[in-house]
Homo-oligomer: 233 residues x 4
């Protein structure tokens, strides 16, 4: 399996992988002139030790590349979790590559994420971020429809402005962009991938990004079964 759909329109695709659990074991043992070719008990103990003690540098020698299609608010949160948090919250140089499409010059028609009527969530009780239980379908229905209508108005105005000769970089002011889909390639070390996955379990992580993290886990786990188990537990 190399592609998993997320929500109605989004997806994650595993494009490429480098290395295996052995890659990490051998990087960690660089001081000794030994190399493992089959993962044995000692190797698994070493992976446990590295993950437990936070010695995550050996996990930087294994990497994977994904193609992702997700709403802008998911993309920005994702980027903040990895590249951003490396710079801001001191959680580590992220060893990531990231190339995304840009609304400043892409001309393909914009598509948007609209929660279904049973997917709208309440505000959380004791927290400033995140969300609580699902709201009733009646309220959900109201806002799914209203959002659809507002997006239609925004896209119409955006397209009219473009047709009237307005530059794309100003015309985009009409787009309700938090929900607009973008596509990107993400190449990341296993250290960075597991950091991203761990962020998702925080109670203030947004449901929409957690759905993408789950897809990442399913795609990557068969390639690094022992490492991933230790890194994300």
């Amino acid at each position: 399996m190399t592609k998993i759909n997320v929500h109605e329109l989004g997806y994650v695709r595993l494009v490429n992988v480098m290395g295996s659990d052995l890659t990490i074991v051998n990087a960690a043992r660089v001081s000794y002139e030994k190399e493992s070719f089959n993962l044995n008990e000692n190797d698994i103990s070493l992976l446990k030790f590295l993950a437990r003690e936070g010695h995550t540098s050996p996990f930087r020698h294994a990497l994977a590349q994904f193609e992702i299609y997700a709403p802008l608010m998911v993309a920005r949160q994702w980027w903040k979790y990895i590249v951003g948090s490396a710079h801001m919250e001191a959680t580590g140089d992220s060893m990531d590559a990231w190339n995304e499409s840009s609304r400043r010059y892409v001309t393909e028609e914009p598509t948007f994420y609209i929660p279904k009527n049973n997917e709208w969530r309440s505000k959380p009780l004791n927290s400033k971020q995140g969300s609580g239980d699902y709201l009733g379908i009646e309220i959900g229905d109201k806002y799914s429809k209203e959002l659809e209508k507002l997006i239609e108005l925004g896209v119409s105005a955006y397209e009219a402005a473009l047709a009237d000769g307005v530059c794309a970089e100003q015309a985009r002011l009409f787009l309700p962009s938090y929900g607009m889909y973008i596509r990107w390639y993400w190449t990341a070390s296993l250290q960075s991938i597991s950091h991203f996955i761990v962020q998702r379990s925080k109670k203030d992580a947004q449901k929409e990004i957690r759905d993408y993290a789950t897809a990442i886990i399913e795609l990557i786990k068969p390639h690094f079964p022992a490492s991933l188990e230790e890194l994300i537990k």
Copy 2:
């Protein structure tokens, strides 16, 4: 002067500064046990040499802190120019600190950037990015009003959703967020500041961010006159 207004609602404020032109000169001469206390001809020649040859590491020892209030599309472009470009286009570790307000839990009422009727620009003739000449006031008037109306609709729906108990992280889907103002602190080395300023002169830089870059120059130049002249020419 420590604060400059940008557009109708935005601004840049210089909060703090560390170092002077001499800081750079002395950092560059670390190999020799000499320290300059007054900027002389030799020192200026050294600054010229460092800037011309791209030996910009000494410019990392001088820093400034700004408070900025700007539309989200400016903030994202800014961040991409510095932190992002460090990661993506190999233009350097940015040595920046960045703390911004977040729409996921801020409750202050959103405000938006709306180009005035004489500020709408045409699409560029020979480029996929950027913009060309100003459009006529008639067209401008039409889109200023339409944008204002769309923002009103979006904000109304956003507030109704919040009032109905929808979580902020989903309610924000109604906001035409490219133009929404956010506030942030940016602390950056002179290396990073000048990198940002240079980006603005690229022909595909958006007019709105160039207006902010101009404010940064005016605020910082009195503190590093000789360095800035070399770095941004």
Copy 3:
């Protein structure tokens, strides 16, 4: 006090400082349009919260510049703790500037760190890194003298090679360089400075670098008393 001697020949000098405890408080509260001008109880509670929860990004807006003179082995370990660990052990983008003298072209005569006869330490009992108790003065005396002799031989050969026209980059092969002094400027955020200080308390940190960390604490503490107390406890 702006300069503290370390060992016989080394030192740390505080060259410049930007910000105060208030800088951090205000950066953390960027979402609200409030600014503190005197550090009150609430502000100190906020500093405690930020340090305890690892929300260290606000500490990046306060910085200090140091000039340091230390043996190469201390410099390399220092660099590894900050820039290196940012890249390798995922402990964060270090927001550091670093300019050092280089033996590839400096011609000033090399000077060396030689532990005194009561400063040689035993190997640790239960660890592969670090050191244990002090060894007797007799053994210490023997190795202080031997090291001095070996350095003399190395420097003589180095200088003879230079005199015979050998390039500096090869002639340096004769130098017992772990103990050779170099001089550098280090400009770092309070986030990075406290990260460095915390590393020193690890049981495998080398005594020689701990002596420098102690000097850094003494120099920086008067400028950020509340922040530093929270960050390094």
Copy 4:
């Protein structure tokens, strides 16, 4: 070919590779929903364009892992070219992983780089760094032998100190460490690899590290023939 010897004792080994020229092409075209499966003329033109204009971010999605055995002075210069220059000279976040052996606890016997009698170089005529022509064999012979002798003295003292119970972190003060061999794993993006290779062609790059860069080129070129040609010309 996956392993190339460098000098008498050193080597570079290609451990793993991810991606191909197509990986870069597809990452650059993320905005369009197209994917190339065979490298055609248009794709090569795109690679030329990306390399020429410095749009190197797509080259971050292809990576390789190497095992390297080299003198410490080569390792430090290498690290400075990539991780260090990312931080210092603003040449880009390096997207590298690096795990090396450490003399603080490795117990395998140290080995050293000793230039042969025809490998000693003169100091350069018009530069503070680098080297000039080869010196005569007579001078070379003298210094090869002296260096060998000094290393023997240093290693003897080092081992005697260890035997007397001195901790490894102090005992290493006896080692002429610039020439001491260390082993490390380096995983790097094609962007970072080509940056490293380009550094080597600078006139002040040390001959010893250029020999390693040549080995890297030979190992990596078959995997990214079109990209490498553009990146390093």
